[in-house]
C-alpha cells in the first residue's frame, strides 16, 4: 500500500480536479464568485502546471511562475487560432484546455504511482 503519496501525486490530482470543476462550471453556465474563482485558478495555473509535470519538474515556486507563463501561452495560442479561424467557442476552448490538463496530470500521477510502487517493493525486499 502506498502510504505517503505527498505533493507528487496530490498536486497533479488537485490540478486535474480544478480543470474538471472549472470546465463543468462553464458548461453548466454557473454564475457568481464560485465560477470566477474556479475559472481564474484553472486558466492561470493548471494547464502549465500539468504540462510541466510531464517533464518531471519539481513542485516549487519557480515551477509555479513558469506554469503561469506556459498556461497563458497555451491559452493565448488557442484563443488566437479560434479568433483567426472564426471558430470562437468558450466551451470548445475550455474542453480542449481541460482535456490537455487532465491528460498531462494523469500521466504525471500514473508515473508517480508506479515509481512509488517500485520504491515500496524495493524497500520490502530489503526489509
Amino acid at each position: 500500500m502506498i502510504r505517503n503519496v505527498g505533493p507528487a501525486v496530490g498536486l497533479p490530482f488537485l490540478v486535474a480536479l480544478c480543470a474538471a470543476a472549472a470546465s463543468l462550471a462553464v458548461l453548466a453556465h454557473l454564475a457568481g464568485a464560485t465560477r470566477e474563482v474556479l475559472a481564474f485558478t484553472f486558466l492561470l495555473v493548471c494547464p502549465g502546471y500539468a504540462l510541466l509535470g510531464v517533464w518531471k519538474q519539481k513542485h516549487n515556486l519557480q515551477r509555479l511562475v513558469l506554469a503561469v507563463a506556459v498556461s497563458v501561452t497555451v491559452e493565448a495560442i488557442v484563443s488566437e487560432v479560434m479568433v483567426y479561424a472564426r471558430i470562437w467557442s468558450l466551451d470548445g476552448a475550455m474542453l480542449l484546455l481541460a482535456a490537455m490538463t487532465i491528460g498531462a496530470a494523469s500521466l504525471d500521477i500514473t508515473r508517480e504511482v508506479f515509481s512509488l510502487r517500485r520504491t515500496s517493493a524495493e524497500t520490502n525486499v530489503l526489509e
Binding site: E36, L43, L66, V68, A69, T73, E80, L90
Partner: protein, 651 residues
C-alpha cells in the same frame, strides 16, 4: 531523479575556478564554494531568535499601518502631485517600516524565503493595489480601450484587421483574445471587472520571473531578493496594467530566464579579442582582455531540451502576436547573448526574426502597410526621439516638473548603483557579461523609435531587470559581504530615497488617471442612446470611453483636432464642420479627467477647451443631453443655424 530547478551557476570569487562545470539533469552544478546560506557567519546578535521574528513583526505593523491609512484617503482631493498628495502619514510609515523590515530580513541567517516573499507581495499590494482599492473605478483611461477590444472579440468571436479605431490591437490580438477567454470563462460581461487588479498580479509574476533569472546568475541568495526589491522600487513605468505590454514583458523575462538557466554558454561568435589590437589598446583594454570564463550549458536529455525549446518558441509567438515593440527588444537581446556565447541556441535569433517577419507580413500586414510612417518615421532621429520621450518641463505645471524630475532621479540612482555594482563585481572578476548585455541591448531603440514618445521609458523598462542585478551587487558584491551595520544603514537610506521617488513618479499622473464613476455613466448613456455610426468628440484622449460596443462610434479628440494649429476666433465652428459629416448623430463630451490631462500635459492652447465648452453651451446647434458633476454631453442638432461665416476657424 527529477530535474533540479535550482541548478545554480557557480558564482565564486575566482571566475576560473568553477567555469566549465557541466550540469546534468540530476545534479546541481558542482562547486567548491558554499551558497550564502551555507556560510557560517559569526554570531552578530545576542538575540538571534528575536532577530528572526523582528522582520515578521515589522511586516505585520506595516500591514496594520496601511490598513489604517485606507480610510483616510480621499482621492477626489488630489493635487497636481498625484495620488501621493492625498496619502496620510500612516501610508508613508507603512512603506518606511516595510523597507526597514526588508533590509533586516535580508540580514537574517538563514534567509527566510516565505518572509521575503510576503514582504514583496505586501509591498506590491500596498503600492500597486491601493489605487484600485480606493478609486471609484479602474485607473488609466487606456484600460477602458483595452477592455473595449476584449468586448469586441467576445461579441464577434474574431477581429477586424481593417477597423478604423484601435486597429493596431486587432492586428496584434494575442493579449485581447486571451482577455476574452478569461472574461467569458469567469462569466463576466466586461474585462473591467478584473482589469484593475492586473498591476498586483503582474508584479507578483515579475518577481517570480526575476528571481528565476537572477538565481541563474549568482549563488548569493540575498542578491536576487534585493534585486527584485529594487525592481519594485524603481519600476515607476505604468506598464504593469491590463495591457499587451504587461503580458509580453512577463514572457520576455521568462524567455531570458529559460535561456540563461538551461541554454547558457555556447561558442561565442564574437569576442573582444577579435577587435584589432591597436583599437583595443585603450584605457579599458586590461579589463576586456581579461579572460571571461566560458559557460557550459547543462547536459539536458533530448525530451527536456525539446520541451524547453517548445516553451521558448511558444513564449515568443505570443509576444510577437501581442505586442509591437517587445519582440524586437527580445530578439536584440537574445541575438547579442548568442553572439557573445551566453546562449547556446544559435539558431534561435533566426527563428525569432522569421516569426516577427511572418507576423508583420501576415496577420499584421493591414496595419503595417497603412502605417509605414508611424513605423519608420522616427527611425534614426535620436534627438527627436529623446526630446519626445522627455516631458517638456518648461510648459507643464510645477508639480509635474517635480514628478518628472523624481522619475529621472529614480532612474539616475539606479544607474549609479548599477555602475557601482558593476565596478565592484568587475574587481572580483565576476562582472556577469550576460547581465551587462541585458543593460546594453535595449539602448539602440532610443535611436530607432520614439514609440509614441515613450521610447526612453520603454528602454529603461527593459534594461531595469539587469540594472537592478548590478544595483543589488553594489551592496552584495560577493557572498558574505555587505553584512556590516553601515552597509545596512546605507541600503535602508538609499531604498527609502528610491521609494520616495517611486511614490511621486508612479502616482504622479493619477489626477488624470482617476476615472470618476460619473464619467462612466455619461459614456454609458451616450452609447446606449445613440445610433450606430455616431461620432463622439471628446476634449482629449483621456476619457473612459470605448469599453463596450466601441466599433459603433467614430471618435475624435479636440486636442488632436487643434494640434499645432491656431484655434481661430470661433473654434466651435471648426468642431461643427466635422460633426456635420455623414454621422446619424454626433456628440460633444467634456469630462473632468480629460480637462485634467490637458492641464497636466499642457496639451492645448490655454483656455481653448473651456472656451469651446462655453460656446457649445450657448450655441443653438448643440443640445445639452447629459450633465453631472464630472461630465457634460452635448448633442449636435443638424440643420440648426451654424455660427456666422465670419467666425471661420484659423488654420
Amino acid at each position: 531523479m527529477p530535474f533540479e530547478w535550482h541548478s545554480l551557476t557557480p558564482d565564486t570569487g575566482d571566475p576560473t575556478s568553477t567555469a566549465g562545470v557541466p550540469v546534468t539533469e540530476a545534479d546541481t552544478p558542482v562547486s567548491r564554494e558554499p551558497t550564502d546560506s551555507q556560510v557560517v557567519y559569526p554570531r552578530s546578535s545576542p538575540f538571534p531568535l528575536l532577530r528572526q521574528r523582528v522582520p515578521f513583526a515589522l511586516l505585520v505593523l506595516a500591514i496594520a499601518l496601511w490598513a489604517t491609512s485606507l480610510s483616510h484617503i480621499s482621492p477626489s482631493h488630489m493635487s497636481d502631485y498625484g495620488f501621493t498628495s492625498v496619502l496620510p502619514l500612516s501610508f508613508f510609515l507603512s512603506v518606511g517600516v516595510m523597507i526597514g523590515g526588508y533590509v533586516l530580513a535580508l540580514r537574517v541567517r538563514p534567509l527566510s524565503a516565505p518572509i521575503l516573499w510576503a514582504y514583496n507581495v505586501v509591498f506590491i499590494v500596498v503600492i500597486r493595489g491601493t489605487p484600485q482599492i480606493v478609486y471609484p473605478a479602474v485607473r488609466y483611461s487606456w484600460i477602458y480601450k483595452h477592455a473595449g477590444v476584449v468586448d469586441y472579440i467576445m461579441r464577434h468571436g474574431t477581429v477586424d484587421r481593417y477597423i478604423s479605431f484601435l486597429g493596431i490591437y486587432h492586428n496584434w490580438p494575442g493579449f485581447f483574445a486571451l482577455g476574452a477567454l478569461y472574461t467569458e470563462a469567469a462569466g463576466l460581461t466586461s474585462a473591467l471587472a478584473f482589469a484593475g487588479w492586473s498591476p498586483i498580479f503582474m508584479n507578483i509574476l515579475y518577481t517570480g520571473a526575476l528571481l528565476l533569472l537572477m538565481r541563474s546568475e549568482t549563488r548569493d541568495e540575498r542578491l536576487p531578493w534585493l534585486g527584485v526589491w529594487l525592481f519594485g522600487l524603481a519600476n515607476w513605468i505604468g506598464q504593469d496594467t491590463f495591457a499587451p505590454q504587461a503580458l509580453a514583458y512577463f514572457l520576455f523575462l521568462c524567455m531570458i530566464a529559460v535561456c540563461r538557466r538551461w541554454f547558457r554558454g555556447g561558442v561565442p561568435l564574437w569576442e573582444w579579442s577579435m577587435v584589432p589590437a591597436r583599437v583595443r589598446a585603450g584605457r579599458f583594454s586590461s579589463f576586456f582582455d581579461r579572460r571571461i570564463p566560458r559557460e557550459y550549458p547543462p547536459a539536458l536529455s533530448a525530451p527536456y531540451r525539446v520541451a524547453l525549446i517548445g516553451m521558448l518558441l511558444g513564449f515568443f509567438v505570443v509576444i510577437a502576436s501581442s505586442h509591437q515593440l517587445t519582440p524586437f527588444l527580445t530578439l536584440g537581446l537574445i541575438t547579442l547573448l548568442v553572439l557573445c556565447g551566453h546562449c547556446s541556441l544559435r539558431w534561435l535569433p533566426v527563428v525569432m526574426a522569421a516569426v516577427i517577419a511572418i507576423w508583420l507580413l501576415g496577420p499584421a500586414f493591414p496595419w503595417v502597410s497603412a502605417n509605414t510612417h508611424t513605423l519608420f518615421g522616427s527611425l534614426l532621429t535620436l534627438d527627436a526621439n529623446v526630446q519626445g520621450s522627455l516631458k517638456n518641463t518648461a510648459v507643464v505645471p510645477f508639480a509635474q516638473r517635480v514628478v518628472a524630475y523624481a522619475a529621472r532621479g529614480s532612474a539616475l540612482v539606479i544607474l549609479l548603483l548599477a555602475s557601482a555594482g558593476f565596478m565592484r563585481r568587475r574587481h572580483d572578476g565576476r562582472w556577469k557579461p550576460a547581465m551587462a548585455i541585458g543593460v546594453i541591448a535595449p539602448l539602440p531603440w532610443i535611436a530607432l523609435t520614439s514609440y509614441g514618445s515613450e521610447g526612453i521609458d520603454r528602454v529603461y523598462y527593459f534594461a531595469l531587470p539587469f540594472l537592478v542585478f548590478y544595483a543589488a551587487s553594489a551592496f552584495y558584491p560577493q557572498i558574505g559581504s555587505g553584512r556590516s551595520v553601515r552597509s545596512g544603514i546605507a541600503l535602508t537610506t538609499i531604498t527609502l530615497g528610491i521609494a520616495a521617488t517611486l511614490l511621486l513618479a508612479y502616482y504622479g499622473l493619477d489626477r488624470m488617471n482617476l476615472m470618476p464613476r460619473d464619467e462612466l455613466r455619461a459614456v454609458t448613456y451616450v452609447t446606449a442612446t445613440s445610433p450606430a455610426g455616431s461620432l463622439l468628440v471628446t476634449a482629449a484622449s483621456n476619457d473612459p470611453i470605448q469599453f463596450h460596443d466601441y466599433e459603433h462610434f467614430s471618435y475624435l479628440a479636440l486636442t488632436d483636432m487643434f494640434y499645432n494649429s491656431k484655434p481661430g476666433t470661433y473654434p466651435l465652428s471648426r468642431v461643427i464642420s466635422v460633426m456635420q459629416g455623414p454621422y446619424p448623430s454626433a456628440y460633444l463630451m467634456f469630462t473632468t479627467s480629460s480637462a485634467i490631462s490637458i492641464h497636466l500635459y499642457a496639451d492645448s492652447s490655454p483656455g481653448l477647451i473651456p472656451r469651446i465648452e462655453a460656446e457649445a453651451s450657448t450655441s443653438p446647434a448643440f443640445r445639452l443631453v447629459y450633465r453631472s458633476s464630472h461630465a457634460v454631453v452635448f448633442q449636435y442638432q443638424p440643420g440648426v443655424t451654424s455660427p456666422p461665416a465670419s467666425h471661420s476657424p484659423g488654420t
